[in-house]
């Protein structure tokens, strides 16, 4: 098992033990009650679950290991075990693109493939919390979890793979058609199957062709169970260079173009196109290493943030294509607290805060405390012009306050290996991407994740935030969960372990003649202009897009 050593780093330890499992009471509830055991304590006795005598039930082969292993006992013998059950009802009449019906067996197979060590899936540990997946009938799947894990349902957004093409029998059939060495046969798995080159799904488009580094070609699935797509063929083209992408778009060989902010500026003025701003989960920040003495005071961190004019940064470096970020959740999700204001741009206020924290200007105009000047290094990775701009702007802003900040940029993996993972930095410029709808921020903000190679590299430790994060993981009621995440957002924003900078939007340029077609129940078509949804996505109704001969006049 993995146990922490003296330094807190996880290391492997071989342990042999016997467990004596006592008889248990089984309770079946119609909805998840995460507070059940707390409510049982008055009946069973105060601290019944916490103070259970685990040591009596475990016999270790090597008793000297007991101190290292002791904290794992509650995991191994659950005194109060929650087994939340998620039941999925599948849509009837769904077929795979090769005509075979889609059933619950495919879902169960997907789970088995994800956790199968032969497939070496990078997502395997997300499904570790599943106790069992049961096929109730063709269209019903029941998943039982080992413990409360409210965000786990998000893991099921992962695509389902077809059992009839990838189970052991199918893999054997595939192997028999190819000539492989004995070793290759032993390691043949879902990962190495031809399926990866010719995927089969159930969506409105079926896979047609993939030419590596050229394009992926999809065709309309006429057998689709839902609204059939407008487009007959869709091509995703690979064009490595932004400038030639723009020229290809102008030459008419591209219908949709994901532009860079300054390119979108040029095209906004062109009457033929319109520019949509797509927002995805992404925010840029400056992280402070809170283990370093100068960053331990929250007033210092707030002051550093107040000195930077993020508004101008957005206007000039990003052509206005961004919004201020205020905290750890993305603004296009309900978890984000809209009442939290971004830090004001206030260099005078910053100086006042720094003075409060003991940093006064010395004879040379530099800030000093206890005889030591305020000096540190800001590091980021190469190849990213926005990060370079952030570094330069921040350095200059801090210089005006009297802080000596040096800036350095390194190649991405050197930056990660030598600075971030080894926690060997003063401050870094980075960004978090993705995981929009996941409220669980354990890896990023929990105090147990502050060691080397873990993602809470700022070293943020707050008991209240830890409690909230743990409760979020167990809270199945969405509104209650949102209240908890908003409190996390407020607390982290107040503590400023990062200076939260901005959330960029991505400009998508489309020909104005491309519209979204809506069909009302009578079958009549109306055209609607394509706009981003409140979540910031523009692709949800992609299959309804059609290119007309000329721009229509829209219904009011």
């Amino acid at each position: 098992m993995q146990v922490p050593d003296a330094k807190g780093k996880q290391s492997s330890l071989d342990v042999e033990l016997t467990v004596e499992v006592p008889p248990r009471v089984k309770i079946r509830l119609s909805k998840v009650e995460s507070g059940l055991f707390k409510r049982l304590e008055p009946i069973l006795g105060e601290g019944y679950f916490r103070d259970y005598p685990f040591a009596d039930r475990f016999k270790l082969k090597k008793p000297e290991q007991s101190s290292a292993v002791r904290e794992k006992f509650p995991e191994l013998l659950a005194v109060g075990e929650h087994n939340p059950v998620i039941t999925f009802h599948l849509h009837p009449g769904v077929r795979w693109h090769d005509g075979v019906p889609f059933t619950a067996e495919d879902v169960k197979f997907t789970y088995q493939a994800l956790v199968d060590p032969r497939n070496a899936s990078p997502r395997a540990s997300s499904y570790e919390g599943i106790k069992s997946v049961e096929v109730v009938d063709e269209l019903t799947v029941r998943m039982t979890y080992k413990r409360l894990a409210a965000p786990a349902i998000i893991d099921w957004l992962i695509g389902v793979i077809p059992k009839h093409l990838l189970d052991d029998a199918a893999l054997r059939r595939e192997m028999s058609k190819t000539s492989l060495s004995k070793e290759a046969r032993a390691t043949f798995s879902v990962r190495t199957s031809e399926f990866g080159r010719h995927p089969v799904g159930t969506g409105p488009f079926r896979f047609a062709e993939w030419r590596a580094d050229q394009f992926v070609h999809l065709q309309r699935n006429d057998d689709y169970w839902g609204k059939k797509a407008e487009q007959q063929d869709v091509f995703f083209r690979v064009i490595p260079d932004y400038l030639t992408m723009e020229l290809e778009f102008k030459a008419g060989a591209l219908d949709r173009y994901d532009a860079l902010p300054h390119q979108a500026e040029r095209l906004r003025k062109d009457p033929e196109y319109h520019v949509l701003n797509r927002r995805r989960g992404y925010y840029s920040y400056i992280a402070y290493n809170m283990r370093r003495p100068q960053f331990q005071d929250v007033r210092v961190r707030r002051a550093l943030g107040m000195a930077i004019d993020v508004g101008s940064l957005i206007k000039y470096a990003l052509s206005g294509e961004a919004k201020r970020a205020t905290g750890p959740y993305y603004s296009n999700t309900p978890y984000y607290d809209p009442t939290v204001e971004p830090l004001p741009y206030d260099p005078a206020g910053a100086l006042a805060l720094l003075a409060e924290a003991g940093w006064k200007k010395n004879a040379r105009g530099m800030l000093e405390k206890d005889g030591k000047p305020f000096q540190f290094t800001l590091v980021t990775n190469n190849g990213n012009p926005q990060r370079k701009a952030i570094m330069i702007v921040a350095q200059e802003a801090w210089r005006k306050l009297g802080i000596d900040c040096k800036i350095q940029a390194f190649e991405w993996t050197v930056f990660l290996d030598d600075f971030v993972h080894k926690l060997n930095f003063d401050a870094v410029v980075l960004a978090w991407v993705g995981g929009d709808i996941n409220p669980d921020k354990y890896q990023l903000w929990h105090s147990s994740q502050v060691h080397e190679f873990q993602l809470n590299f700022a070293g943020y430790q707050s008991q209240r935030v830890d409690e909230l994060i743990e409760r979020i993981r167990e809270e199945y009621d969405f509104d209650a969960q949102v209240a908890l995440t908003r409190e996390v957002h407020r607390l982290v924003a107040a503590d400023q372990p990062y200076t939260f900078l901005y959330e960029p939007t991505e400009p998508i340029v489309l020909d104005k003649r491309i519209v979204q077609v809506d069909r009302d129940p009578d079958g009549r078509e109306t055209y609607r202009k394509i706009e981003p949804l409140p979540s910031g996505s523009i692709d949800v109704f992609f299959s309804r897009w059609r290119k007309l001969a000329q721009e229509p006049s829209y219904a009011p």
């Binding site: 993995q2 996880q10 060590p117 070496a120 899936s121 990078p122 997502r123 395997a124 540990s125 997300s126 492989l180 060495s181 070793e183 290759a184 990962r191 190495t192 990866g196 080159r197 030419r211 590596a212 580094d213 050229q214 394009f215 091509f235 083209r237 690979v238 064009i239 490595p240 260079d241 400038l243 030639t244 020229l247 290809e248 102008k250 030459a251 008419g252 060989a253 591209l254 190649e411 991405w412 993996t413 050197v414 990660l416 290996d417 030598d418 971030v420 993972h421 995981g435 354990y442 890896q443 990023l444 190679f453 993602l455």
Partner: protein, 320 residues
């Protein structure tokens, strides 16, 4: 002659093995893991990372990883880290894309440089010579990618024609003739741009070499004998001036594998240059090592070819 060949081939093969060991060590020394091992992804836990590293043999000592690579390469089982596809078929497919571009560029460079260089040498000091010198140095100084961008912008704005890629997108349903012509059109601009610097440099060499040869005694003798100018220049002087270029010709072979990363990126040409570049960025070790190995093998073959050609062409040289 045959003894020479046999001995050289054995020596070169040994050298190839040494090169493969050295390049394997150096590539694994570089910092960074394959991008599948994403350390900044909160969804990937330590166990997942360990599992992936194990399936890529990254935990084993470096000599064992070398053995894995060589064995997989020889049995055709070598798979890329990025998409699990076999490496050699991928390289072959991209090679077939790079080949027309390479051939076209080479043909343009070698057929254009010689007349320009020879004329410049013959009319040394004249306006032609000074003009071509100026143009040559300008082309050498201006980066090729900059000129490429300008040309693409110009063609798209004025002629409204798509320039990038192997073919014009959307022409799959046209007739064979149209598609063939389309492929030729897409070949023209990238090879022209890639050839420009080559012409500039090679024509300088040709000019320098011709000048040196034209100053030799035997040329004066030939003229004194009464031969006409064409005979002197092309029959005697040029033949001798060509000797160093024969050597250069053999060394063109590795150019097949390297492709040109910059031009392939700009023109979205799916060739070997882009393949190698992206393999390096993704730390796709099997792909990088194999490309490196093939490049080394082609280089050594090219040098061997040059040696043989040189011996054939220059009667003063005899292989031992």
């Amino acid at each position: 002659m045959w003894r020479f060949l046999a001995r050289t081939i054995v020596q070169r093969l040994l050298l190839l093995v040494v090169i493969s060991i050295v390049s394997h060590t150096v590539i694994h020394l570089a910092p960074g893991e394959p991008t599948e091992v994403d350390s900044m992804n909160p969804m990937m836990k330590a166990e997942d990372v360990a599992r992936i590293r194990k399936s890529f043999h990254l935990d084993e000592p470096i000599y064992l990883q070398y053995v894995h690579w060589v064995r997989d390469l020889c049995t055709g089982q070598l798979k890329s880290f990025r998409d699990g596809l076999p490496v050699m078929p991928k390289i072959w497919e991209r090679f077939l894309n790079s080949l027309p571009l390479f051939l076209c560029t080479t043909v343009i460079v070698w057929t254009a440089s010689f007349p320009i260089g020879i004329q410049a040498a013959l009319k040394r000091g004249s306006r032609y010579d000074r003009g071509t010198t100026f143009v040559a140095y300008t082309l050498i100084s201006i980066p090729g990618f900059f000129l490429s961008y300008l040309l693409i912008v110009w063609v798209v704005r004025i002629f409204h024609l798509p320039v990038i890629g192997l073919t014009t997108f959307g022409t799959e349903h046209e007739s064979g003739v149209v598609r063939a012509m389309d492929r030729v059109w897409h070949l023209v601009i990238p090879s022209l741009m890639a050839a420009l610097t080559g012409i500039a440099v090679l024509s300088r060499y040709v000019r320098a070499q011709m000048l040196e040869v034209l100053g030799q005694d035997y040329v004066r003798t030939a003229r004194a004998k009464g031969l006409d100018e064409d005979q002197v220049v092309y029959g005697h002087a040029l033949r001798n001036a060509l000797l160093p270029f024969v050597t250069m010709f053999g060394l063109l072979l590795p150019g097949l594998i390297s492709g040109s990363v910059i031009f392939e990126q700009i023109f979205a040409w799916p060739g070997l240059g882009l393949l190698g570049y992206e393999a390096i960025l993704a730390r796709d070790f099997p792909m990088i090592l194999t490309l490196n190995f093939v490049a080394a093998a082609l280089t050594l073959l090219g040098i061997l070819l040059s040696d043989i050609l040189y011996a054939l062409v220059d009667p003063r040289i005899r292989l031992q």
